[in-house]
């Protein structure tokens, strides 16, 4: 392994390889920042260019694109409230309020720094713990996926703390949207209304663009910002970057916890960076002392989401490289590239092709550093984009939403769906619905459904359904987590009331004491 590392470093810091990887990161950031062009698309389009390179160089470039694209998603999330890739959904919750306060640069630096830290931790997990962790990933069967999805849905209780009812309605709407198309297991057609294009269901990214982007454009117009002024004013200040980084370095627990969540979610095949970011954001809210301030522009919220989704990159490659099972859609494209270069995932990869594999793995660490440097120095300039007058910005964003939603499957109906979702999103937002629960429902619906249906099928071979759902150790842990998570706001509210009452009592007590005395 050590000799492989030495050789790998030689490959990585070869000028040609290093430049191509840096270029990959830069291209990734740009593509990731554009809503509709996801990391998966970027990789798929650019894979052919790596054919002419030798395998190590090609994989380094692809790794750079993957890392860059997942980070790039935060840029549009922060500046225009639209996740550039699904991974950046949770970044919008606090990133956009920060940008509106004129602190876009703060948010971008926080995102670059936490992405870098998360990405490096994820890559290190991949390098040192892959064979161990993959055994854990395999323990996840249908019942575990079902409970994992239910656990994810309990996040609604934190996200919609203001109105649980609206949160639950939103979650149900999201689940409903996720059922459109062919049933994942049974293959029955649902809610397609005769449109064959709907067989494939509603593409998540199309829904996201509509749901996040369109209301923002409409808001710009509704608030009559057109012609008169700008969306948010960015004040240029010096020393922003340094202070933001210091603030985050002081919270190592936040960054490390988020990175571990990200890596773990990545390792479990089928759950991607979007789930990683949302779960990590939820934990950040839960463990924070000022949890009620989240959603109004907290750097911690941005950091939690970004550290997790970049750490997920390393995690998603664990089952891919050890077993040939991609942990997330972009990892599937990397697998295709590996095969085309004649590399077969599995133990062989680490033994026979150790030189190439370790070059790829170590290059992920380096790519994260490169990404941080690019993001760090770019933040100031990119953040200025928001100073553009709204009458330029609104049509540009509108134009990009159409291109983005069409490009994902080259399907015109997707554009119609995007606009429809956008209008629905605008109305729901006016009615004070948090977008989080709806999006959670859309992401977790299919995971929960697959888990439930397959578990019920497995139960046919058992004496009772309960054996499948309630007797497996990981399931039990997840069930306990679900109960804790769902009950948390109640507990937290009770604790708050209790402590207030305690304070009142002490006040009364002291009064009594004085009276007595």
């Amino acid at each position: 392994m050590v000799e492989n590392f030495a050789g790998a470093l030689g490959h990585i810091f070869n000028l040609y390889n290093f430049m191509l990887m840096t270029l990959g990161v830069a291209v990734g950031i740009v593509v990731g920042a554009l809503p509709g062009l996801t990391a998966t698309m970027a990789l798929a389009v650019l894979v052919p260019f790596t054919f002419i390179m030798d395998p190590a160089t090609g994989l380094m470039t692809l790794g750079g694109i993957y890392v860059g694209a997942i980070y790039g998603g935060c840029i549009s999330a922060i500046l225009i409230n639209t996740p550039g890739t699904p991974s950046a959904i949770a970044t919008t919750f606090d990133g956009y309020p920060l940008a509106q306060k004129g602190k876009g640069e703060h948010a971008l630096v926080a995102a670059a720094f936490s992405s870098g830290v998360g990405g490096v931790i994820g890559a290190l997990v991949l390098i040192f713990l892959a064979p161990l962790l993959v055994e854990v990933a395999l323990k996840f069967g249908p019942p575990e996926y079902f409970w994992l999805a239910i656990f994810g849905l309990t996040i609604i209780s934190t996200l919609a703390a203001k109105s649980i009812l609206k949160g639950l309605i939103g979650g149900a709407l999201g689940l409903l949207v996720s059922t459109v198309g062919l049933a994942p297991i049974g293959g029955e057609m649902r809610y397609t209304f005769g449109f064959y294009q709907l067989q494939g269901g509603i593409e998540l990214i199309v829904a996201l663009i509509g749901f996040f982007c369109i209301p923002e454009i409409l808001n710009m117009i509704a608030d009559k910002k057109i012609g008169s002024g700008q969306v948010g004013k960015l004040q240029s200040r010096t020393g922003v970057a340094g202070s933001v980084m210091m603030a985050l370095i002081k919270q190592p627990v936040l960054l490390i916890r988020s990175a571990i969540i990200g890596a773990f979610v990545g390792i479990v095949p089928g759950a991607g960076g979007n789930v990683a970011g949302l779960v990590s954001y939820n934990e950040a809210v839960r463990w924070s002392k000022d949890s009620e301030k989240f959603g109004t522009g907290m750097l911690e919220g941005v950091a939690a989401s970004e550290a997790a989704n970049n750490s997920e990159v390393g995690g998603s490659l664990v089952p891919l490289l050890t077993l040939g099972i991609p942990g997330a859609p972009p990892a599937a494209v990397i697998m295709g590239a590996l095969l085309l270069h004649g590399l077969r995932p599995g133990p062989d990869l680490f033994i026979q092709h150790g030189a190439i594999t370790y070059t790829f793995l170590l290059s992920l660490v380096v790519a994260n550093v490169v990404m941080f440097v690019l993001g760090f120095f770019g933040a100031k300039h990119i953040a200025r984009m928001i100073n553009l007058p709204a009458n330029y910005l609104a049509p540009l964003i509108a134009f990009m939403t159409v291109i983005g939603s069409y490009a994902i499957r080259n399907n015109m109906l997707d554009v119609v769906i995007m606009v429809t979702m956008g209008l629905a999103g605008y109305i729901l937002r006016r009615l004070d619905f948090h977008p989080g629960p709806i999006v959670l429902g859309m992401i977790l619906g299919p995971i929960a459904e697959k888990g439930l249906v397959q578990s019920l099928m497995l139960a046919r071979s058992q004496e009772s359904i309960a054996v499948v759902f309630f007797t497996r150790p990981i399931s039990l842990v997840l069930i306990i987590l679900c109960i804790i998570s769902a009950a948390w706001p109640v507990v937290a509210g009770f604790r708050k009331k209790h402590s207030e009452r305690l304070r009142e009592q002490t006040v009364d007590g002291t009064r009594e004491v004085t009276a007595d005395g």
Binding site: V31, Q197, G200, V333, L340, K450
Partner: protein, 339 residues
């Protein structure tokens, strides 16, 4: 003001990128057109292709259909002297892409990857699949993926006979994983059940990868899987039988189902097709290009290494193959009174 200008330039650049990525290299068309024109004049061939050909992949990027198309792409571009634009249309287990193919202009500029038995089983299973098997006009079938049945290394079953006998005594108790309903794996399972007179509990997944990971994690007792997956995981599993006519090179010690007394050769075969009504001379040009790809030694070698069977069926042979399989499956499903 200067700032605004700079940003506008930046935006235009970004948008240009979106167009390039989104529209998949349409602008290459003009450059290549003149070259293609010259070639066609010299060769006295039909005036095709003069612009890029769209190759629909009805599955997700990174899947086997994508890998295969990417392998063919540079060769096809060379033989057709035009660029090949790969377009992903995932959905409905491939049905979305094939329906799109039916709606495409029948001028040869849109072709699609096809999978057998998907294109046969989907129209039987759903009355609204969006296409019929007869509408799909194959130009080649280039790859076979024999389907095998496997159990884990530590399983008590050592042979197919062991498993079949156990299943006979415990009907519906053996859980078997696979990819999808009315798919290659599902039909393989139905065939084996019918031939052996047994009943399994089939637990399908949404794709090959999740079914493999569920099986490796011990959540299902056995698995129907593609030969390439079986080769990848051969250290962890015992393959009990394989759906090829003869023994498979990469798994030479695994008996075929036929050797074991079950006359079935379940397989997933990949090919390419054009919309109905595509003119014969255009079809011929595409077919010739695919035939040259199929004859390429390095392509064949790579396929074998990765656990596939390279095939060489031209348009006529491919159509015969589809007809044969269609007959076989319709008969089976009728006997079983399904779906």
């Amino acid at each position: 003001m200067r700032q605004v200008k700079c940003l506008s330039v930046l935006f235009v650049l970004l948008l240009a990128m979106v167009m390039v990525v989104g529209c998949g290299g349409e602008q290459v068309a003009d450059e290549k057109k003149s070259v293609a024109d010259k070639v066609t004049e010299e060769d006295q061939k039909p005036d095709f292709p003069t612009r890029p050909v769209t190759y629909i992949i009805p599955f997700n990027p990174g899947g086997q259909s994508d890998v295969e198309a990417r392998r063919q792409q540079p060769l096809l571009e060379e033989f057709l002297s035009t660029s090949i634009v790969i377009q992903y249309k995932p959905g409905g287990g491939g049905a979305l892409g094939w329906t799109e193919l039916m709606h495409a202009k029948a001028d040869g500029y849109t072709i699609s990857g096809i999978n057998i038995p998907h294109i046969i089983l989907q129209p039987i299973a759903r009355d609204n699949a969006g296409y019929t098997t007869e509408q799909i006009k194959p130009i080649a079938i280039f790859q076979g993926t024999p389907i095998g049945l496997a159990v884990l290394k530590d399983s008590p079953f050592d042979t197919l006979e062991d498993l079949v006998n156990y299943a006979k005594e415990h009907p519906g108790k053996v859980t078997v994983g696979g990819s999808g309903k009315w798919s290659g794996h599902h039909i393989a399972l139905l065939q084996l059940e019918a031939l052996a007179g047994i009943e399994f509990n089939y637990v399908p997944s949404t794709g090959a990868a999740p079914s493999v990971s569920q099986f490796l994690g011990g959540h299902t007792d056995a698995l129907f899987a593609n030969s390439n997956d079986l080769v990848t995981h051969k250290d962890r599993i015992k393959v009990l039988g394989l759906g090829s006519d003869e023994r498979f090179e990469a798994l030479a010690d695994v008996p075929t189902f036929i050797e074991l007394g079950y006359s079935m050769t379940p397989s997933i075969d990949r090919g390419a097709a054009v919309p109905p009504e595509t003119p014969d001379e255009v079809k011929k040009v595409l077919e010739d290009a695919f035939v040259r790809v199929m004859n390429n030694e390095s392509v064949r070698k790579q396929m074998i290494e990765q656990g596939f069977v390279p095939l060489r069926l031209d348009a006529v042979a491919a159509q015969e193959h589809i007809n044969k399989k269609q007959l076989e499956y319709t008969k089976l499903l009728k006997e079983l009174n399904l779906p």
